[in-house]
Amino acid sequence: VSDSASVERRSIDDEHTLYRRIPDWGNRDLLVQDAVTGVWRPSSGSLDFDPDASVYCREILLDHQLSWRSIVASPLSVVYAFTAREARVEFHDVEHTPYQQGYAEDQPHEIAHCSIWARHPETGEALPPGQLRKRAKRLASRARFVNFDPMVGKLLEMPNP
């Protein structure tokens, strides 16, 4: 199965976990460190919309014998997680959008691809840039790292080569 049209779209429950993958080149460019506590969190820019923000649903990955490790890309990726409910507090919806165009080849995890849309959670209207970045920042700030220790600023597990 390698195209969007042939994959059944799943509903994403509020309790489902969504993984966000952010690249890391060894410099933690998409993370920020609090200069007082030393604790790291994802930068607001790490949850970027173009026009959607890509996330991967844990439950769909598991249904296909995949895990968060399947979405780790070369050379390194930091993965953080939040629930669909947390995403829906800030944005209109989370939609299962498997195998977006151009991402079908050799990427089985794309079957769990979901899109967060940059629309107001209640009205469904497009969010202006200022609202978008604030909501992205709130959601990123609430996220939990999967493979990164925010206290020491290091990856907990290196991906397979």
């Binding site: 410099n27 460019d29 200069a35 007082v36």
Partner: protein, 180 residues
């Protein structure tokens, strides 16, 4: 990038990792040893020049990112946006400022955040050079938020941001500019 910025930020300014462990009288400078290990209130933070060296090194590295650097459709960091970001940072920081933390954006823009005890100041520059600045206190309350169409606009907000940054930077204990 260096050629596009004015002196004194074009030279070999980095002394940020210079050793300060030995005193002229041969004694041990414990303060600097603690400071270099990180995690303690620092004594003698970086100069503005040293911070700008860190900024330019970071931006120069981000300019080399290939398209699709996010594993999806991200565009290259726009060189004009990079220069505009450097100039905005230069206008906001002073000696001992908290470290600016620069993030590439998928549209080719850049974001920079200062995060100090939960309080934050953030600026963004888009590839068309519009830019925004906003600040939140440590409880997440918005202090100000403004957007501008061109880099030359928003001087009052820059001054507001500069004062905010000077105030929160008094509490800095961790610096990523010394860790990387």
């Amino acid at each position: 990038l260096n050629a596009l910025l004015d002196p004194p930020y074009t030279g070999n300014a980095s002394t940020a990792t210079a050793s300060g462990s030995d005193l002229p009288d041969g004694g041990k400078d414990i303060v600097h040893e603690i400071w270099q290990r990180g995690g303690r209130r620092e004594v003698g933070g970086p100069t503005k020049q040293e911070l700008m060296k860190f900024v330019i090194d970071t931006v120069s590295r981000l300019l080399k990112l290939a398209p699709g650097w996010d594993g999806k459709r991200a565009r290259r960091v726009d060189p004009k946006a990079a220069v505009a970001m450097c100039r905005l940072i230069e206008s906001l920081i002073a000696d001992d400022s908290a470290d600016p933390q620069i993030t590439p954006l998928s549209d080719g823009g850049l974001s920079t955040e200062w995060l100090v005890g939960g309080a934050s100041l953030e600026i963004r520059v888009t590839p068309n050079l519009s830019w925004s600045i906003w600040a939140e206190d440590q409880d997440g309350r918005e202090l100000f938020d403004a957007e501008f169409e061109r880099p030359g606009q928003g001087r009052a907000r820059i001054e507001q941001g500069r004062r905010f940054l000077a105030d929160v930077s008094k509490n800095v204990r961790f610096r990523r500019s010394r860790q990387l």
